[in-house]
Assembly symmetry: D3
Homo-oligomer: 308 residues x 6
C-alpha cells in the first residue's frame, strides 16, 4: 500500500504530470498493489481493491485520464481472489502496454494526413501532436512547423527545442499572431486534455483560438488524443471544470502590488466545440468528433453500466 | 530647417512615437519652419515647403498619420508667399487643435455606446480606446475591463496601470485567453494604426483575433480612430505592409543560440476585415467601416486629387 | 380486448395525449390484453397479439412514441404461448417502469448542464424540459427562466404556472421577443415530439426559431427527449409530416368572415436541423444529435430488422 | 401657440401616432405657429421659434421622425423676421408635401423589386411596406402575402384586413411560424421605426426574427423607410432605447394575480443588424443599409453641424 | 486463374468501369476462382486465395469499391479447404446479390425524401442517384430535374437521355449555371465514388460546387451510395488521392500546340466535406455523414481488425 | 444621322460588342452627329439630339454601359445651339478619352493588390481583369493564372491565348474544377457587366460560383469595372434582367432531337451579392461594393435628377 500511496502523492504534487504519465503510473501502482495483496477472503480483496482505486482517482479528480486508467486497469469479473487478481494483472498490463503503443499508433495514423511540403501549427507541448509531426518528418516528408509561445508557462519553448532536436524547420510566434499566421498553414495539430461525449475538446488555454482561426481560414484542425482522454462521465451530463491557476504565472506580485483594482484571470484550459474539429486521431483510428460516444463505448465501455 | 530635421530625426528613431504624437509633431515642425521661412520668391517658397514636406513624410513611410498630418497642415491654394504662408499657418494650427480635441470627442461619442454595467475588452495600449472607457467611467457608469497582456511588448501592463489609476475595475488576461473570456464581454474597444478604403483595420498584432472571437460571440467590436488614421493611398490600390520586428522581443538570443532550425516570426500588426468591425468612432462621428471612403473624402480630401 | 379498444379510442380522441402518456397507456393496454389472452395455440396467440399491436399503432400514426411503445412492450422471441406471454409481460412492465423513471433521469442528467445563476429559455410546455429546470432549482442553483407564450394555444401559461408553483424566477415573453431576449439567456431547453435519424428535432411550432436565435447568439440549445421519441422509420427515408391544425386556434371565424381572400396557416410543429442542437438529453445519457442512429439501434433496435 | 400646444398634447397622448403622421402634424403645427407669429424683433422671433421647436420635440423624445420633422420644417438661414418666416413656411410646406409623396414613391420604387408570382412576408402594420405590396398588385403582378399576427397588439389583423380589401391573396400565421413558413417566401418587406447611422433597423418587436430567418433562408429582406426615419443623432454615438410596454398587453392582471414569481417582459421594438438587410427603400431611392450616413447627410444634413 | 486474370485486365483497362460493376465483377471472378480451385492442402488454398485477392485489388488501387468487394466476398473463418471454400462461395454470392439489390433499396429509401412537385438537381451520371429519381417518378410524384453537363466528359448527356427515356421533365444546364439555378431546386442528389470515415464525399469533379451552392441556398444535399463505397482505410489516416486525367479531355492538342505557357489541370474528383451533406442514402438506410464509421463497422467490419 | 443609325445597327447585331466598345462607339456616334447637326433653332436641336440619344439607348436596353455613355457624352446645360453643341463635343470627347484611359488606370490600381508570387483565378474574358494581371506581370511580379473554360462559349480559350502571348504562366481548368482549385489561389479577378446600387455584380454566368468558392476559402475577390458599368437605374428599384441565350450554345439540335422531355436553360449572366466581393477596382480608385451609390453619384450623377 505504501508504494501506491507514494504514487498517489506524486500525482497530487504534480511530480508526476501529463495525462499519459499519470495514467500509466496509476495503472502500475494498482497492478503492483494487487500483485502483493495478501488475503484469502474475496470480500476483503474486493474492499481493499476498491479502496485503492478510490485513493488513486481522488488525487486529481479533474484529470480524466486518471479514472479511465484506474477503472480499465482494475477491471475484473470474477468470484475468487485468484481469478480477480489474475484479471487485474492482465488488464493493467494491457493498459500500460496500450498506453506505451498509443503514441506510436497515433504518430503512424496522423502522419498519413500530412503531405510532403505541408505547414503545421501546434500549440503548447503535446507528445501526441509531436508524434504525428515527427513521424511524418521521419517518413521523409518536408514539414514546416509554427509553434506558439503558449503563455503563461511558455511550453512552446519546450516544443521548439524538441522540434529543433529532430531537425524540423520550426518558427516560433507569439499567441497573438495565430490568426495572422494561419494563412500560411495547412493543418493545425494539438493534443487533448480531455474530450467530451459531444466531441468538444478541453485543452490548454488558447487551443480554441487556434481552432477558430483555422475554421475561419478553412485549415484542417486535428486533435491527437489517446482513447483514455475521452470522458465517460460527460455522457451523464457532467460539465468539465476549467481550472483557475496561480496569477503569478501571468504577472509577478511586485508589479501587481500597486494596482489594487487589477485582478488576474488565468484559466488553464479552454473548450473547443466539435464544429471546429475535423478529426480526432486516436491509437484506434481517426474519427470525426461526433463519434466520441462510440469511442467511449468501445474503449471505455466498462464504465457506462456502473455510472448509469 | 534644423528644428524640422531634428523632429524628423526624433520620429525616425522613435523618440517620438504613437500615431497621434507623430502627427502633431510633424504639423508643428512644418508650421514653425514655414513661419520662419525667409524668402520673397514664391517659386523658392514652394520648392522649400515641398522639400520640407518630403523630408517629414519619408522619415516613416509606413505610418499613415504622418503624410496625412503633413499634407493637411501644409495645404495651401495661393499665389503669393504671404498668402501661402498664412494659409499653412492656419491649416497647421487647425490640424494641431483638432488632433488635441480628437481624443475628447472620441471619448464623448464612444462613451454613449457603453451602458452602465458593461464589460469591455481592450488590447494593447490605445489612447483613443482608453478615452472612451474613461469617459464612460467618469459619467458614473460602472464599467469592467479585460485587458490583454499584448505580447511581445506587453503594452497591456501600461494599460492596466492607467485603468487602475483611473479607479476602473480591471482584469488582466494572457492573449491566449481572449476567446475563452469573450463570453463575459459586451463590447471590444481597440485603437487603430490605420484604416483602409475598404474599412479594414490595421492594428497591433492580435487585434484581428479579438475581432474574430467577438464576431463569433456576437460581441460588439469598436475601433477608436482619429480621422487622420484613414489611409487615402489605399484608394489607389496600395497594400498595407506589415512590419516585421526584432526577434528578441519574443525570445532572447541566449535561448535561441542552440536551436539552429528555429526562426522567429514577429509581425507588428495584423489586419481585421471590415465584416468583423461594427463601428469606427472618430472625432467626427461614429461610422460603419464601409464608410471609410466618405470619411477620407470629407476629412482628407485634398489628397485625392493629387494622388489620382 | 375491450379495454385495449377503449385505450385506443382515448388516444384517438386525444383524451389521452402527450407523447409520454400515450406511450405508457399503450404499453399498459397491451400488457393487460396479453395477460388475459386465453388460448393454447401459439399461432392464435401470435395472430391476436399482432392484431392488438396494429390497432394501437394505427390510432395515431404520426405520433412516434406510440409504435415505439407498442413494439418495445410487445416484443418476444419464443415458441410457446407461455414463454411469449411471459416475455411480453416482462418487456411491457420494463417499458412502463423505464418511462416512469425517464423524467427523473433526464432531470438528473440535464440539471448537471446548468450552473448556479444560469438563465434558461423554454418554449411551450414540456415535462422533460421542466424536469431539468426543476431539478437544478431543487439542487439549490439559482435559475431564471424565460417562457414563451407559445401561440396559438398559449401553453406558455401552463408553463409559467408550474414554474411559479415551484418557486422559480420566471419571465413571460411573446414569441416575437425570442431573438431580442436571447442575449440574456445561457441555455435554451425544449422538449421533443420526435427526433429523426439525422438528428433533426420535430417539436412545437416556434422551436426552430428559438434554436436559430440561440445558434446566432452562441447560446446552448438542449432538447430533452425520452429514447422512445426517436423515430426508427426515418432511417428508411420516411419524412416527418407536419400536422396542420384548426384555423380557429389562430383567429375566430367571426373575424375571418368578412375577409374572403385571407387564409390561415396553422402548422403544429416545425423541424430544427441538427446543426442548431448542442445536446439531446435522454434518460440513457446526453448525446450530440448526430448520434440518433446509435440511440435508435441501442434502445429501439428490435424494429430495424423488421423494417429493413 | 395654443394650436401648437394642442398638437403637442395629441402626440404625447398618442391620439396622433405612427411615425409619418406625427412628423406631418408637427411640421404643420410649426408652420401655422410661425405664420401667425406677431413680432418685429428678430431676437424675439428666434427665441419663440426655438421654444416652439423644443416643445414639439420633447413630447416624444424617442420618436426619431419628430425631431427630424421639426428641424427640417423649421430650418432657416436669415437675418430678418420676414426672411426667416418665409423660409420656414417654404421648408415646412416642402416637408409636408414630401411626406405626402413619400409613400407613393416608396411604393413605386419598391414594387420594381417584386416579380410576378412572388410571395411576400410582412410583419406588424406598416403603411410603407403595404404601399409596395399594393403598388405591385395594382401593376398586375400576382403577389401572395404572409402576414404575421404580431403579438401582443395583433396589428397583423389590421394588415390582413387592408390586404383583403385590396384583393390580395393573404395568409395569416402566428409569430412562431415565421421560420417554418420562410421557405415559401421570396421577399420580406417591413417598415421602420428608425434607422441608425450604421444601418441597423429599429422596428416592431419580432422584426429581427423575420430578418434572421430570411437571412438563413437566403430570402430578400427589405425595409421601407421614409428618409425622415433615419436617426442623425446615432452618428454621435446615441444608442436607441427600446421602450418597455404595459404587461397587460401580454397577459391580463387576473391571470397574473396568483403567480407572484412571474414577471412580464414586453419590449416594443427590436434591432435588426445591417447584415440581415438587403435594401432600404426610401422615397429618394433604394439603398444598401451601409449608406445610412450618406442618406442622413443628403436629406437631413442641416442637423449634423448643429449636433457636432 | 485465367478467368480471374481476364477480369483483372478488364478492370485495369476500364473495359469494366463504374464502382458498382467493378465490385460485382471482382466478386464473381473470386467466387469462380475459388469454386474451381483444386487443392487439398489448406495452406496452399490460403496462399492461392490471398494471391488472387491481391491481384484483383491491385488492378485499380484507388477505387474503394474494389478492395471492399474482394475482402467481403473472399472472407472466411475456417480451418479446412472445404469449409473455407463454402464460406467464400456463400459470402461472394451474398455480396453479389446485395449489390444487385442495393440500387432498388436506395431508390426505395431515397424516393421517400422527395415530395410531389419537387425539383432535383443531379451531376454527372450516377445509377444510384437516378434510381431515387426514377423511383419517385414511378410512384407518381411529379419530379423535375436539372442535370449538369458535367464537363469535361459530358456524362450529363447520358443522364438527360436516361431521364428523357423515363419520361421525366429534365433541363440541361452548363456547370457554370449551378449556383444561379440552385434557387429553383429543392434537393440535390448525386452518387459517390467513395466516402471517408469522417463523412467526406469523394465524387466527380464539380460535386463539391453543387454541395456548396446547395448549402448556401439551404437546399437539401443527398449522396446515394452503396455501403461498399465507404472507405475503411481512411479510418487509419489514409488520404484519398485525386486522379489527374488526360488534358485532351479538356482541350485538344491542336489548340494547345501554340500556347507553350499554358498547362491543363484536369482533376477527376473533388471532395465534399460532411458539413455540406444532409444525408447519405445507402441500401441499409439513410444516415447523416457523421455516421460513416458506424456504417463501415457494421457493413465492412471484417477489415478493421486486419488493418489496425 | 445615317452614321449614327449604322452604329446603332452594329450594336444591335452585336458586330460591335463588349460593354467598353459599345460605350465608346455610341459616344463617338453621338459626337459626330451633333458636330454635323445643321440647325439654328434651339428647340429643333434639342429635339434631334434627344431623338438620337433614344435611338442609341434603345438598341440594347439591357447593356448598362450604353445609356451611361449616351447620357454622359450627350449632357449639356445651355440655352443656345452653339453652347449646347460645344458642351456635348467636350463631354463626348472627355468620355471617350476617359474610357480609353480607364483600362490603364484599372491595370495600375489593381496591380498594386497583387504581390510577387500570387496566383490569380479569372473567368471568361475581361479586358479590365486582364489589364490588372498583365500590369502586375509587366512590373516584374511572378503571377500564375488559373483560367476557366467558361462554357458554353468557351471565352476561356481567348483568355489563355492572351495570357500565353503575354508570357504569363497559365493553367486552364473546366468550370467544375473551380472550388477544387480555389485552395491554390490568392485572388480572383473578374470583369463586370454591370454593378447595382447595392453593390451586386452582374457578370458572365459562373462568376457568382467563383465568388462563393472564394468566399468559402477566404480568397480575395476583385471585380474590375469602369465607372460606366455602374447602373443608376437600380437606385430606383430596377431589377437586372438575366438574358436567356440560344440553347444551341449548350447542345446541338441534332442531339436534342430525340429527347422531347429535355429543355435547355442557358442564362448569360448571374448575380454576385456584395458580401462576396472584397473590392471593385475602377479607373477612379478601388472601392468596397457598398460604395456603389457614391460612385454613381460622383461619376454618373447627371442621371439621378432626371430619373428621380
Amino acid at each position: 500500500m505504501q508504494q501506491l500511496l507514494d504514487t498517489a502523492e506524486k500525482i497530487r504534487t504534480m511530480e508526476i504530470r501529463g495525462a499519459g504519465r499519470i495514467a500509466a503510473a496509476a495503472a502500475r501502482a494498482l497492478r503492483d498493489y494487487v500483485e502483493m495483496l495478501e488475503t484469502s477472503s474475496f470480500e476483503e480483496f474486493v474492499a481493499k481493491v476498491e479502496k485503492a482505486k478510490s485513493i488513486l482517482i481522488e488525487t486529481r479528480p479533474t484529470a480524466v485520464s486518471l479514472p479511465n486508467a484506474v477503472m480499465l486497469a482494475g477491471s475484473y469479473d470474477a468470484e475468487t481472489v485468484e481469478e480477480a487478481r489474475s484479471q487485474i494483472l492482465d488488464n493493467a498490463t494491457e493498459f500500460i502496454q496500450n498506453a506505451d503503443n498509443a503514441l506510436d499508433n497515433i504518430g503512424e495514423i496522423g502522419a498519413k494526413r500530412l503531405r510532403d511540403g505541408d505547414t503545421v501549427m501546434t500549440h503548447c507541448n503535446s507528445h501526441a501532436a509531436l508524434a504525428i509531426i515527427k513521424t511524418a518528418h521521419n517518413q521523409g516528408k518536408r514539414i514546416k512547423v509554427y509553434a506558439t509561445e503558449s503563455r503563461p508557462r511558455r511550453q512552446g519553448f519546450i516544443t521548439i527545442k524538441e522540434l529543433s532536436d529532430a531537425g524540423i524547420d520550426t518558427t516560433l510566434i507569439v499567441d497573438s499572431a495565430v490568426r495572422h499566421t494561419m494563412k500560411n498553414v495547412d493543418t493545425v495539430i494539438v493534443g487533448a486534455d480531455s474530450i467530451t461525449v459531444n466531441g468538444a475538446l478541453v485543452n490548454k488555454i488558447g487551443t480554441s483560438q487556434l481552432a477558430l482561426a483555422a475554421h475561419e481560414a478553412r485549415v484542417n484542425f486535428i486533435s491527437a488524443a489517446e482513447t483514455y482522454k475521452f470522458s465517460p462521465s460527460t455522457l451523464f451530463g457532467d460539465l468539465v471544470e476549467i481550472e483557475e491557476r496561480d496569477p503569478e504565472e501571468v504577472i509577478s506580485k511586485d508589479k501587481l502590488g500597486d494596482m489594487p483594482d487589477v485582478k488576474i484571470s488565468n484559466p488553464a484550459f479552454d473548450v473547443t466545440p466539435s464544429e471546429y474539429i475535423d478529426l480526432i486521431v486516436t491509437e484506434a483510428g481517426a474519427f470525426p468528433p461526433e463519434m466520441a460516444y462510440v469511442i467511449i463505448k468501445e474503449h471505455l465501455g466498462w464504465e457506462l453500466e456502473k455510472m448509469g
